[in-house]
């Protein structure tokens, strides 16, 4: 106790130097925690985005994720209606799952044959009301305005296209898309003319899908897809809205359809299937338990189908890669801050030891052991470290509040609309604890080396020091 008492007094001896050291630590801790809070915000924002669009878990036919994107018809889940009913009715899952909804992913060619244009698309058929409910998920309290799924309350043949796809298909005018001059490029282009001369059988199939009294001013498209037998099938759709998808490559191919129409396109008159069941949970931390329960159900009641349960991180490798990138940057910053703290504290303690060499000799003459001297100076470093880290945590929390209320916004990668710039320091207790204890430890280790040197000074030489 007396060493602690003396260490505390000694730190107050040269207040300016102690404050400078503390300041260096505060800046380091703040930088780490604010960056950590920012990256946590991005991570949770990405997670929210993913969970809103495709849920926490997906049940798919085994192999669909790796090999099924080009042949979704081959990976359809049979008897999915019963599976949905079982999952929704399960007493264990019911407490965790908010939404259980089927989706059908398919690839095809969408064409606006009136304009003579077409392109490949990645379409997804879903139940609009379920997707709207999923888009309301906001477990981390982001300042987001929940938007209903654009297909909700639309006709069965409605579709939502990515803005990029709508531009390519020259649907700018009916969909009121900015920065788009329909026909300027494509109408005179020889390829466009060729596209207009679509195969006769395709045109015939498309004609069958066109409802009577169709107005030319509407954004009509025809989607060609291969059915389960490998034959082409065409569906005609009205694009009711174009929505920006964030990533241009996806924006240029995105097409959302109502599930029954998508199923008709792929399965025709056969038993309709889906490629995935999306399960959205109340909280992400319920994922392991929910997954275990679903796997139990699949093994006991649906063992005749080879089904797999995939979580959102597996389905979205970008999520894991982004987290890894931030972890690496955080680690790099941590090393840099630790090195700065190490040098600052080490320098402070070395200066203190030089100034107090006679005192060291006196304490040794009074009977203090070498270990006592070592402990005394290490304790000073530890106190500096703890005080600096504690002040850093408090200031970082205050700065986070200021930033979160500053009204700043930014547009993260893969998003289309700006979001509030927020940093999540409060609640990140593991990160706070790790930063706090690590830097305090670095500070005490920084003090330990000069302290060790001080303890090994010759008593007589120390007493003679001027």
């Amino acid at each position: 106790m007396h060493a602690f008492w003396l260490a505390l007094r000694n730190l107050q001896r040269n207040r300016r130097r102690s404050m400078t050291t503390l300041l260096a630590m505060v800046v380091g801790v703040c930088a780490l925690l604010l960056f950590g809070g920012f990256s946590r915000d991005i991570t949770l924002g990405m997670q929210t985005d993913i969970v809103q669009h495709s849920g926490h878990l997906q049940i798919q036919r085994r192999g669909f994720f790796m090999y099924g994107s080009g042949n979704s018809a081959a990976y359809g889940i049979r008897d999915y209606g019963r599976l949905v009913a079982v999952l929704r009715g399960d007493p264990v899952l019911r407490t965790m799952a908010l939404v259980v909804t089927p989706t059908l992913q398919l690839g095809g060619v969408a064409g606006n044959f009136n304009a003579g244009v077409s392109r490949t698309v990645m379409a997804e058929g879903s139940i609009a009301a379920d997707q709207s409910r999923m888009q309301a998920w906001n477990d981390y309290g982001f300042p987001l305005t929940s938007r209903p799924f654009a297909l909700e309350h639309t006709a069965e043949d409605a579709a939502v296209a990515g803005v990029g796809l709508a531009r390519v298909l020259q649907l700018c005018e009916p969909l009121h898309i900015q920065d788009c001059r329909p026909g300027e490029v494509m109408s005179d282009h020889p390829v466009a003319a060729a596209s207009a001369d679509a195969p006769a059988d395709v045109m015939a199939l498309a004609a069958l899908e066109v409802p009577a009294g169709r107005a030319d001013s509407t954004a009509r498209i025809d989607v060609l897809a291969a059915n389960t037998h490998g034959a082409p099938n065409v569906g005609s759709f009205t694009v009711v809205k174009a929505e920006e998808q964030g990533v241009k490559e996806f924006d240029d191919v995105y097409l959302a359809l109502h599930l029954p129409r998508a199923q008709r396109l792929v399965y025709g008159g056969d038993e309709p299937r889906v490629t995935a069941l999306e399960v959205q949970l109340r909280h992400t931390n319920q994922l392991p338990a929910a997954r275990q329960r679903i796997e139990q159900i699949l093994a006991t009641q649906f063992a005749d189908q080879s089904l797999a349960v995939l979580d959102f991180a597996t389905l979205n490798p970008f999520y894991g890669q982004t987290n890894s990138m931030f972890s690496v940057i955080f680690g790099f910053m941590f090393v840099m801050v630790s090195v700065i703290v190490l040098f600052v504290v080490s320098n402070t303690m070395s200066m203190a030891i030089i100034e107090r060499t006679v005192e060291i000799g006196t304490l040794r003459a009074m009977g203090m052991r070498r270990g006592g001297i070592e402990a005394l100076f290490t304790l000073e470093g530890l106190l500096l470290g703890f005080a600096g880290a504690a002040a850093g945590v408090v200031i970082a929390l205050l700065l986070a509040i200021v930033i979160n209320h500053s009204g700043l916004s930014w547009t993260p990668p893969a998003r289309t609309d700006p979001v509030a710039l927020t940093v999540r320091v409060w609640g990140a207790w593991e990160q706070i604890g790790m930063t706090f204890f690590s830097l305090a430890l670095v500070a005490s280790l920084s003090a330990w080396w000069p302290a060790r040197h001080a303890a090994r000074l010759s008593i007589v030489d120390a007493l003679r020091h001027v």
């Binding site: 007396h2 008492w5 006196t362 009074m366 203090m368 010759s458 007589v460």
Partner: protein, 233 residues
């Protein structure tokens, strides 16, 4: 039993490549419960001998026995513990810890020895009273005069009630009047507490107060004995 028994002590210092003899074949016996002064001109070896006797420096060869303990046989930690229990140190420049009050400076050796709080408090106040500074217990060294600081240093040296107190030029940083009062204090304390005081000094006031004087020159003892005997001789 002698307070200190020194036999054939040798110490050589090396400054760059030049060897300097600190002590050469020094043997002396310091009687217990006496005020002994090591005197001699600068460089005579009195401080070196005091450092050896205080166990804060090691000899090249020879033997030092304090309170029956051969100090050469002790490890560094054991020697530290031995110093804490057996030897009090008083320095020329007082060497008080500036961040601590007079009370806390005297208390510090007791804290190191983990003496209980109530016993510690009684002991500190008793010692500060003995050196005439009970009313300045809460003053920090910067608020005390040179003489007062040296009184605190003496009280600190006595905190653990050691049988031996070593003082290196305790009056050298003080004016003659203050120096005289410090000498008088040490003399009184030595007699009252029956402590062995060994003082390295060439101050005539200190030599005049001594029971015994050991005269040194060039690292050797030239003569030693009771002051009255020597004066008589």
């Amino acid at each position: 039993m002698n307070a200190i028994l020194i036999e054939q002590l040798n110490k050589t210092y090396k400054l760059d490549s030049v060897e300097t003899i600190g002590l050469a074949d020094v043997s002396v016996q310091i009687a217990p419960n006496r005020l002994t002064v090591l005197s001699g001109p600068s460089g005579s070896g009195k401080t070196t001998l005091l450092n050896m006797a205080g166990c804060i420096d090691r000899a090249d060869s020879g033997r030092i026995v304090i309170a029956g303990q051969d100090t050469a046989r002790l490890s560094d930690n054991a020697l530290s513990d031995f110093r804490a229990r057996q030897i009090g140190h008083v320095f020329q420049t007082f060497n008080l810890l500036p961040v601590l009050s007079a009370y806390e400076n005297v208390e510090y050796p007791l804290l190191m020895a983990r003496v209980r709080a109530d016993a510690r408090s009684r002991r500190v106040m008793h010692l500060l009273d003995a050196v005439g500074l009970a009313d300045k217990a809460q003053h920090h060294p910067g608020q005390l005069s040179g003489g007062e600081r040296q009184r605190v240093a003496i009280a600190r040296a006595l905190a653990m009630a050691p049988p031996l107190v070593l003082a290196d030029e305790p009056t050298a940083s003080l004016d003659s009047h203050t120096g005289a009062s410090i000498v008088e204090l040490m003399r009184r304390i030595q007699r009252e507490r029956r402590v062995s005081f060994v003082i390295a000094s060439h101050d005539p006031q200190v030599i005049g107060a001594a029971d015994e004087v050991v005269r040194m020159r060039d690292g050797r003892i030239v003569d030693s004995g009771p002051v009255s005997q020597r004066e008589g001789a």
